[in-house]
Amino acid sequence: MGGAVSGRVLAVWCPDWPAVAAAAAAGVPAHQPVAVLLANRVQVCSAPARVEGVRRGLRRREAQSRCPGLTVLPADADRDGRYFEPVAGAVDTMVPGAEVLRPGLLVVPARGVGRFFGGEDKAAERLVDAVGAVALPGQGGQVGVECQVGAADQLFTAVTAARSSTHVAVGGDAAFLAPLPVAVLAAEPALAAPGRADFVDLLRRLGLRTVGDFAALPAKDVASRFDRDAVLAHRRARGEADRPPSARPLPPDVAVGQRFDPPLARVDAAAFAGRALAAQLHTRLAAAAVACTRLRVLARTTGGGELARVWRCAQPLTPDATADRVRWQLDGWLTARAAAGGAGEGGAGEGITALTLEPVEVVDAGALQLGLWDGEDQGQERARRALARVQGLLGGDAVRVGVLSGGVGPGERVTLVPFGDEPVPAADPAPPWPGRMPAPSPSTVFAQPPPARLLDRSGAPVAVTGRGHLTGDPEQLAWRAAQARVRGWSGPWLVDPQWWAERWWEGAARLSVRLQVEVEGSVVVLLLWRDQVWQVEGVYE
């Protein structure tokens, strides 16, 4: 529909990147078969190896039997990240704002790019040329990194299109994806949650073989039957934007930074610093109840240069994932610097003097991709903001919420805590509280109970004996300059039935009782006898 408004995306995909990086590191020429092994199984292999029949998941021995000339190299995520930095740099110099999804895959916002280069096709050509001209370190002067470019309205479509070097027309995302097998939804690990492969398998067994079949399902049926990741996959299958248009606003002061003196020149020192910073960043993000999905890594070098790179993730970054990305990034930069001539100066080359991690996009820590339960949350958020503003006007203590608490009297049974604090009752409501009055409770509970006088028929004050009995039948209640005839009373109810267990020697002086008194006009008053006087604790009306 109006997909053009949100901006086009170009995806730059370097096929078999781990194999390319491993081959470059080992000095193996690109035309020789290479396989990268993880846990004795082929993780990735290069195109020449694939031609010989090597496949992902094969055992080492079988791969070697199919392709005797295969060079087998161990997997190393750090190496992949380090070697990708020159590629990202090459793209970034051509089109600013490149975001790395994973080593081997990056996306650039294509808004304006097409016009600048005279069409997206031309821009893609230029990108392929630029990446092809990148010299990977350790390649021995050999030039050439292969890449494919896809363009589409949405990120996922662009990444999928890059695998076939397709340029999807504006608004054609859904139509492009529709005939593809559902497996493409799980093809890109950087854009799928861990359980996506199982989900795709399930879809296939349900008879949904193409992305179009899946996209044709109503969104609410998908959301009600599958998990969040499935909703996300569905949105992608329909060519809709991944994230709700309004992500959480960035909380202030979440960026973390550190200066280094002496400058960081060694990769391991940089990695250590990156890990510490990542932990610090996540403490702040957690305090703001958000999680980061796009992170900018900024570094300043001794030469006064500034380096920046944005990493984008499908899932919110964990502290470890953040640390990894920072390490790859610093590693890439430092290696590039060293290769650019710093090495010849005996370690006096450029180092990193300052490092900043800055979240670019955050989502709620328990983020929902689709605002299914928006209504509820919005109401709560609105209320929270209004109350916070009143707290700003009157002070934090002025706004309180009640929490049911243990206790005997109607006032004790609700603890008021300042709004925003953890609602902790003053006493545990669970254990039995003898002496509690049953419901209903008074609708008015006085914080400062006014004194009252209870009189018997002869006009003498009614008191409470040491055994908890009234000295006479109440006849008149005087309270707040009003006197009313008593129609009935219930009690006295001992406030603490075990009052004598401690401090028994104080005797009747410590005795405390409650009395419900009904006066004329159907007004029931809760009286409290304490310290030898009656007080009005509450009114039932």
Partner: protein, 257 residues
């Protein structure tokens, strides 16, 4: 009436929208009926000008729309139990409420009436300007209760009422007179049960409620509040044994208040 209330859900046959008739239903059926009722009246995601805040069933019978219309200013006088019952219903339905300048309100009684205390904020001392605080709260809450201790000038009252109307929130004023109320309640404990002479305990209160507004003449009803295992049940008083005409609001002296 049908067209005035947005169709809430995709349910089958709907009862007429005013008040769900709960007589002769089992507990589960009542719950289902009330949930259905709430779907139409739900607090969130509705056109603020047309939403209705739920009120306890016996009170709903007194109101033409079956609830408190969003954006209105409501005066509640007399017994506070009615106020608490209104707050309990709103917060139990997922709304947010704030109580301003009513320091001695019994929150325990509200909880017994079914209120969700976590959604009920209390601003006991909003000095120097309770009206300002209430106006701020109207931005975010569904119901704001203002305990007015002195008369408010019509100009200021208008400003706050406009705020409520703009946000679809309900301002409930308790205490001093307020110019330009859309709806008024007067409640009085007409009878209480259970207190003997030195025995028994308070078990049940009968509230005589009068409601009238700009758009409808005075209506009267009885609300029975009965303690039941730590909770208070709110019922209409037609099933109140021995409820006679003289318990009603028509009793002598009542009209003069």
């Amino acid at each position: 009436m049908f067209s005035a209330v947005p169709d809430g859900g995709s349910g089958g046959a709907r009862a007429p929208k005013a008040v769900p008739d709960l007589s002769g239903l089992s507990q589960a059926q009542k719950l289902a009926r009330l949930r259905h009722h709430l779907a139409g009246h739900h607090l969130a995601g509705q056109d603020p000008a047309r939403r209705m805040l739920p009120v306890p069933a016996p009170v709903a019978e007194l109101l033409p729309g079956g609830g408190l219309p969003g954006g209105s200013v409501v005066g509640v006088g007399g017994a506070r139990l009615l106020l608490l019952a209104l707050l309990a219903q709103v917060t139990a339905a997922g709304g947010h409420a704030a109580v301003v300048a009513l320091p001695d309100l019994g929150l325990l009684a509200a909880a017994e009436l079914g209120a969700d205390l976590g959604r009920l904020a209390v601003v006991a001392d909003p000095s120097p300007d309770p009206l300002e605080v209430a106006a701020v709260l109207l931005d975010g809450m569904d119901v704001v209760v203002l305990g007015a201790d002195r008369a408010v000038t019509p100009a200021r009252a208008q400003v706050v009422a406009a705020r409520a109307r703009g946000k679809g929130a309900v301002l409930i004023v308790s205490g001093a007179p307020w110019p330009g109320l859309d709806l008024r309640f007067e409640a009085r404990v007409s009878r209480c049960e259970g207190v003997g002479r030195g025995h028994g305990r308070l078990r049940c209160l009968l509230l005589a409620v009068r409601a009238w507004g700009r758009s409808f003449p005075e209506r009267r009803g009885l609300v029975r509040l009965e303690g039941d295992r730590g909770l208070v049940r709110v019922r209409g008083a037609q099933d109140f044994p021995g409820a006679t005409a003289q318990d009603g609001p028509g009793a002598a002296g009542w009209g003069a208040r």
